[in-house]
Amino acid sequence: MSRGRVWFEALAGAIPDGEPASVLCADGTVRGGSARFLAVVPDPEATFPRARNGELGLEEGWALARRVRQAVAEDDGEQRALVAVVDVPGQPYGYREELLGVHLALAAAVDAYATARLAGHPVVALVVGQAISGAFLAHGMQADRILALYDSGVAVQVMSKRSTARVTRRSVEELDEIAKEVPATAYDIASFARLGALHRLIDGIDAAEPDAEDVEMVRDALAEAIYSARHDGSTDLSGRFASPEARQHRDASLQVRKRLAEEWSR
């Protein structure tokens, strides 16, 4: 069973319904507050053959968009939290996918999550496994708060290591050497945490086979993230620059913004 499904089932506590089978969606609660849980999981029977191993492709992008927009449309009182359980190996590499506009399917998911956040829904991403590339942009990166489990199986990167090695014509060993010098190119979650975009790295959890205590710990972390997202008065991503890590490791990003602001209006 994929980590995405393990954590979805542990947290949502409900049987997902609807199509496609690769997109799990269920409404539940986090410490008394309502929440919609979403995950992308492998479906060996998926309509599109290149997206049967958990990739976020055409059907997944549009289905996530539908499920998220549905919550935005339905909630006019308290806006339920949206929890994206992230374990996505990437986007599918396929001819049909490109022909049918997989870039647009991913844009649809980005759009929906960003729209929900702007509308006031707390959007929290929980990274429990892989968070690779376009799939993470579409399912996770538009969140108000990103949480991740501190575990060797948790990885954030723009391309799988195997693919990066082929594209850059370097060996996997060479890539590992570079990653020691340049944390942005590393795969491990501790390196990603150094860039300051994580709200919290949750340590001491069995990410692959969580027990009841692990699940309760993650539930507490989710509740705190939802609470803080709901009450910080901001619906943009500026919080990713607030940490000391970001000020140190994304200094150039901050410099650029400062200069642009100075030169913007004559």
Binding site: L100, L137, M141, R259, L260
Partner: protein, 284 residues
């Protein structure tokens, strides 16, 4: 009305990013922010043996379009394949965030993205990923105030996280030479094999992700010649049209219905898809 007629008959794609931004804006209004003499380079390339560029491959230009305030974000496809790193990405995201701030205060600045990019720059990896997510976030917020117009004109095409950005645009202007797709043809061939896609088969590639195909299936809004006047005109027309009633990336019902029509056992190709999707009013 002042229009950019200074370069009539000039091929848009022969110009540098700086020249393209200038040619697009009303004559004499071009003003670059964080210009090359400020030398705000990527700090991450030199340690990896790559010579940095003094503008990191993105030009941010203020100016006017039809006398209205505008900002053009032009990616230089000749530098590192137009890859988005920390500095180039922050230039785009930061400029869009300022455009949003102005719009929220009732001051409309028209944003144009010139997308000649392979996506995230692999040497800067997760820093590029964060920047691209910030570009996406600003685009979605901005679109409800003013259209965000993307242009995909040149031979580099528009791929990866920036193809997602193109998907978020209110309007996309393309040339026949332009290509728009999530994964580049070479990456697909490498990852899925030549039987999946022969990246050397140029007619096939353009029939799949080229400008004409994208416009015919409703994934681009205007197909224009590779000509400065034609592109400048199409960009202005897009702003004249105002924000679309429903952005393409929000048309969930329509695209789910479109996908439901697809039989994956059939050999589907560009012309077949044009016939299939034309019936639902695909070419906007």
């Amino acid at each position: 009305m002042v229009t950019a007629l200074a370069r009539t008959g000039t091929r848009f794609t022969e110009l540098s990013a700086r020249e393209r931004a200038s040619a697009l804006l009303d004559l004499g209004t071009f003003r670059e922010l964080i210009g090359p003499f400020e030398r705000l380079e990527s700090p991450h390339l030199q340690p990896q043996g790559v010579v940095p560029a003094c503008d990191d491959g993105v030009v941010v230009a203020r100016g006017d379009l039809d006398g209205q305030e505008a900002v053009v974000l032009a990616v230089e496809g000749l530098f590192q394949g137009g890859g988005i790193g920390e500095v180039s990405g922050a230039k785009m995201a930061g400029a869009l965030e300022l455009t949003l701030r102005d719009a929220e205060r009732g001051r409309i600045v028209r944003p144009v993205l010139l997308l000649e990019t392979g996506g995230i720059r692999l040497q800067e990896a997760n820093l590029g990923l964060l920047s691209v997510a910030e570009i996406h976030a600003a685009m979605v917020a901005l679109r409800s105030h003013v259209p965000v117009v993307g242009v995909v004109a040149g031979m580099v095409g528009c791929f990866g996280g920036m193809a997602i950005a193109a998907g978020l645009c209110s309007y996309v202007v393309m040339t026949r030479e332009g290509r728009l797709g999530l994964n580049g043809p070479q990456v697909i061939e490498q990852e899925a094999g030549v039987a999946e896609l022969d990246s050397e088969d140029r007619p096939l590639v353009w029939e799949t992700i080229g400008g004409q195909q994208r416009a015919a299936t409703g994934m681009a809004d205007a197909l224009v010649e590779d000509d400065v006047t034609a592109i400048a005109g199409a960009v202005r027309s897009a702003f004249d049209a105002g924000p679309p009633a429903e952005h393409r990336s929000a048309q969930v019902e329509r695209y789910e219905a479109r996908l439901a029509q697809i039989d994956t056992l059939d050999q589907l190709d560009g012309p077949a898809l044009r016939a299939l999707w034309r019936d639902d009013g695909g070419g906007r």
